[in-house]
Amino acid sequence: MEIENMAIESLDIDEVATEIIIEEVSKGHKLLHRHKLTKKQIHIGRDYHNDIILSDPHICPSHACLTFVNGQWQITDHQTVNGTFVENPKQKKQDANQHIVQDGDIISLGKSQLRILFSDHKVAPTVAFSPFESFIDLMRHPVALFLSLTLFTFIAGGIFYLNKPIEVNFSQLLVPAIGMALGFALWPAAVSLVSHLTKHDARIMAQLGVCFAFFNFMWLSDVLESITSFNSASNSVLPLFALLISVALAFSLFWLNAYIGFHMTAKRRIIIAASITTLLFGGSYVVSYSNKPEFNPRPQYDATIMMPSFLIASSSSVDEFIEDTSKLFEQANKKALEK
C-alpha cells in the first residue's frame, strides 16, 4: 500500500514537473517571449529542429538541452563554441553543463538569456486599480483634454497680453499662445515616445491630458506665489510655502507620467519622479548660480506688485519699516568685515 502510494506520488511529481516555462529575456531581464512546454527533453539552439529556436549568431545550431531526470531538470551543453552559463548573483558566471535547474534560474547562451520557471512559481499579488486611474481616465477624455488645452492656450495668451507694453490684437496673441501650448506638448509626447520605445503602451492621450491639467494647476500656483510675495514682507516664510506647492505639483506630474507610461515598482517610481524634480529645480538653481557674477553692483529685490483687489495683508507703519531696515545696516556691516 505504502509503495503504491509512493509510486502515485512520484508519478504526480513527474507530471507536475515536466511542465516547464522558458522565458526569453533581455539583458535587463525584461520578458521578450514566453514558452510553456510539457516535453521531458527540450532542445535549445539556432537550427530549426530545436524546441526553442534562438536566432542569436553566437549560439550553436544545436546548443544545449534540458532533460528531466529523476524528478529534476538538468542542462547539458553540447560542447558549444561559446558555452552555456548559469547567472548567479554570487559568482558571475558558472558553467551550466550538468547543472540542476532551480526555479527562476537564468541561463545565458551566446548573447541571449533564458529564464526557467516551474509552473508552481509564485507570482506577485494582484495590483488593484489606484484612485489615480479614474483621474487619468477623466483627463484623457477628449472633451477634458480639449478643455485643458484651450484653458492653457487662453492663459498663455492672457499672460502675453498683460506683459506687452503696446497695444496688441487677438491674432498677435494667438500665435505665441499656440506656440507655447505646442512647446509644452513636447514633454508628454517625449514621455510617450520613450514608453513606446521601451515596449510599454504609449498612452499619448493620457499623458497629454494629465500634463495639461497639471500645467494649468501650475499657472494657478504661480498666481498663488505672486499673491503671497505681494502680500508678505521680505522676512516672511510664506513665499517659501508657495514655492513648495510648485515643487509638489512638479513631483506629482512626473510621478503620474511614470505611472501612466511605465510598469515599475512604487519605490522606483518615487525615485524617478523625485530625481526629475530635483533636476528641474536644482538644475535651474545651478544655472542661475553659475551665471551669477562674483559681485553684483545691482540690488536684488522682490518687486512683485498686483492690483489692489489682491491686497490681503495689512500694511506696516513707517516706524516698523525703519526698524526692519536698520537691521540691514548691521548685515551689510558684517558682510563688509568678512573680507
Binding site: 497680453y161 498683460l162 506683459n163 507694453p165 503696446i166 497695444e167 505681494f230 502680500n231 514682507a233 521680505s234 522676512n235 562674483e294 559681485f295 553684483n296 553692483p297 545691482r298 540690488p299 536684488q300 529685490y301 522682490d302 518687486a303 512683485t304 506688485i305 498686483m306 492690483m307 489692489p308 483687489s309 491686497l311 495683508a313 495689512s314 500694511s315 506696516s316 507703519s317 513707517v318 516698523e320 519699516f321 525703519i322 526692519d324 531696515t325 536698520s326 537691521k327 540691514l328 545696516f329 548685515q331 551689510a332 556691516n333 558682510k335 563688509a336 573680507k339
Partner: protein
C-alpha cells in the same frame, strides 16, 4: 571809422599786454611748478599724470587728490614721482588729503630752502584775469589766461567758475592772479572753455591743519572727511523746507528747497499710442566725490513718477507697472573692492496719515574701507489705486545709518496722494 581803429588798437594792446604778462609770470613761477606722475611699481611705467606746485620752502607740493588717488588707496602698488622745470626727477611722499575738495599735499626732500607759490589772502573779483598753469596731456608746462567768474552756482562744495581752457593733465596746477598769488587749483572742465577750480581757501585750511597735526593715516583721514561731509549735507537737507508739489493729477511729492539739488521733468503726454500716461520728476545733487576711477560717492538722486492707465484694465496696468519698478540700480559707481553687495528689505507700508499705501523696498551696501558709511537705495510703489500709481525713489551714496534712516523716514512721510 576812427572809433573803430581806436577800439582795435586798444584790443591789440591789451592782448599783447596779457601775453607779455603771462610770459613774465610763467618764467617767474616755473621753478616751483611740477609735473606729478604715478608710477606703477611692477611695470615701471606711469599710470596717471597731473600737475602740482610748491607751497612751502621745505618741499610741500599741492596737487589734486584725484591725481594721486590710486596711491592713496593702494600705496604698495604705486609710487609718486615729480618732474621739475629743469627735468629733475624724484620721489614724493603723500602727506595729507582733502577728498571732498579734491586736494592733496605731497612732499619732496629738499636740501635748502626753495622758491614757492604765495597763497592769496583774498578771493578774486568777478572778471579779474587769472592764469592757469599746468601740463596738459604731457605736452609740457603751459600757461592759460582766463577770467574769474565767481563761484559755481548751486554747488554744495564750492568751486570757482573759470573761463579758460583747462585740459586733463593740468589737474592740480595752480591758478594765479597778476600778483602771482594762488587763487585756485585746476580741478575739472566741462568743455568749451568752462573750467572749475578749487578755491584757494580750501588749500589754506588743509595746509594749516597739516602744519598743526599731520594725519595719522590717510585712509582714516578720508573716512573722517567723508563722514563729516555727509553729516553737513544731510543736516542741511533735513533742516531745509520740503515743499509739497503736485505731480501728475493726484501725486503729492516733496521738493527739497536747497540750491544744490536741481530738478528736471519729463512726460509722455505727446505720445498718443502710449497705454500709460507717465510724468517724471528727477532731482539730484549735481556733484559727487571722486575716490578712485571706479569708486564715486557723495551723490544723491531722487525720482518721482506718476502713471495713469489710459485704456487698459487694472491687471494689465499693474503688470506694466511692475516692469517699471523692477530694475532700480545704484546711483554711484562702486566695485567689489569698495562695497559689499546690496542687502534688501521690502514690505507694505502705510504712513500714519493713511494717505497712501505702498510697497516699499530699501537696500543698502556697506563701504569696506570706510567704516559706517553706506550706499542706500529706496523704492516705493503705491498699490492702493486701480489705474493710478505713484513711484518714489532715491539713492544716496556715502551716508551713515542715522542720516539714511532719518532721511528715509522724512521722505516716506512726505509722499502721498493729494
Amino acid at each position: 571809422m576812427k572809433a573803430f581803429f581806436i577800439l582795435v588798437f586798444v584790443l591789440l594792446s591789451t592782448s599783447s599786454y596779457a601775453t607779455e604778462q603771462a610770459e613774465q609770470l610763467f618764467n617767474q613761477l616755473k621753478p616751483s611748478l611740477y609735473q606729478i606722475k604715478l608710477i606703477d611699481k611692477a611695470s615701471g611705467e606711469k599710470s596717471s599724470i597731473g600737475s602740482g606746485f610748491q607751497i612751502s620752502s621745505n618741499g610741500i607740493i599741492a596737487t589734486n587728490y584725484h591725481v594721486i588717488s590710486s596711491f592713496a588707496l593702494h600705496p604698495k602698488k604705486y609710487r609718486i614721482e615729480y618732474l621739475d622745470s629743469q627735468g629733475n626727477k624724484g620721489n614724493l611722499s603723500l602727506q595729507s588729503v582733502d577728498v571732498i575738495n579734491d586736494l592733496a599735499l605731497v612732499r619732496r626732500d629738499v636740501k635748502q630752502d626753495m622758491p614757492f607759490f604765495q597763497l592769496s589772502q583774498a578771493a578774486p573779483h568777478k572778471g579779474e584775469q587769472l592764469f592757469s598753469l599746468g601740463n596738459p596731456h604731457d605736452l609740457g608746462m603751459i600757461v592759460v589766461p582766463g577770467t574769474y567768474n565767481g563761484l559755481k552756482k548751486e554747488s554744495f562744495n564750492e568751486r570757482i567758475h573759470f573761463t579758460g581752457s583747462i585740459n586733463s593733465g593740468m589737474s592740480g596746477g595752480p591758478v594765479v592772479n597778476k600778483e602771482a598769488e594762488v587763487v585756485g587749483v585746476n580741478v575739472a572742465t566741462s568743455g568749451n572753455s568752462i573750467g572749475f577750480l578749487v578755491p584757494h581757501d580750501k588749500l589754506v585750511s588743509l595746509y594749516q591743519a597739516f602744519q598743526k597735526a599731520p594725519p595719522e593715516s590717510i585712509e582714516q583721514q578720508m573716512a573722517q572727511q567723508l563722514t563729516a561731509n555727509q553729516d553737513k549735507l544731510m543736516t542741511e537737507i533735513l533742516n531745509s523746507p520740503w515743499q509739497n508739489k503736485l505731480l501728475g493729477k493726484q501725486g503729492s511729492i516733496p521738493i527739497i528747497d536747497v540750491p544744490f539739488i536741481r530738478c528736471w521733468g519729463d512726460s509722455n503726454a505727446d505720445k498718443a499710442d502710449a497705454l500709460i500716461l507717465t510724468a517724471v520728476a528727477n532731482c539730484s545733487l549735481d556733484e559727487n566725490t571722486y575716490l578712485s576711477s571706479r569708486f564715486f560717492t557723495g551723490s544723491m538722486e531722487i525720482e518721482f513718477r506718476t502713471m495713469q492707465a489710459k485704456e487698459i484694465g487694472a491687471n494689465k496696468f499693474y503688470h506694466l507697472y511692475q516692469q517699471q519698478i523692477s530694475r532700480a540700480r545704484a546711483g554711484n559707481r562702486a566695485g567689489k573692492d569698495n562695497v559689499t553687495e546690496y542687502q534688501c528689505h521690502h514690505d507694505l507700508v502705510m504712513p500714519d496719515n493713511q494717505a497712501i499705501n505702498n510697497k516699499s523696498i530699501f537696500c543698502t551696501r556697506a563701504y569696506k574701507k570706510f567704516p559706517d558709511l553706506f550706499d542706500v537705495l529706496y523704492l516705493s510703489a503705491s498699490i492702493d489705486r486701480d489705474k493710478e500709481a505713484l513711484v518714489s525713489h532715491f539713492t544716496i551714496s556715502g551716508i551713515n545709518q542715522a542720516n539714511a534712516l532719518a532721511f528715509t523716514r522724512k521722505f516716506m512721510e512726505a509722499v502721498s496722494w493729494k
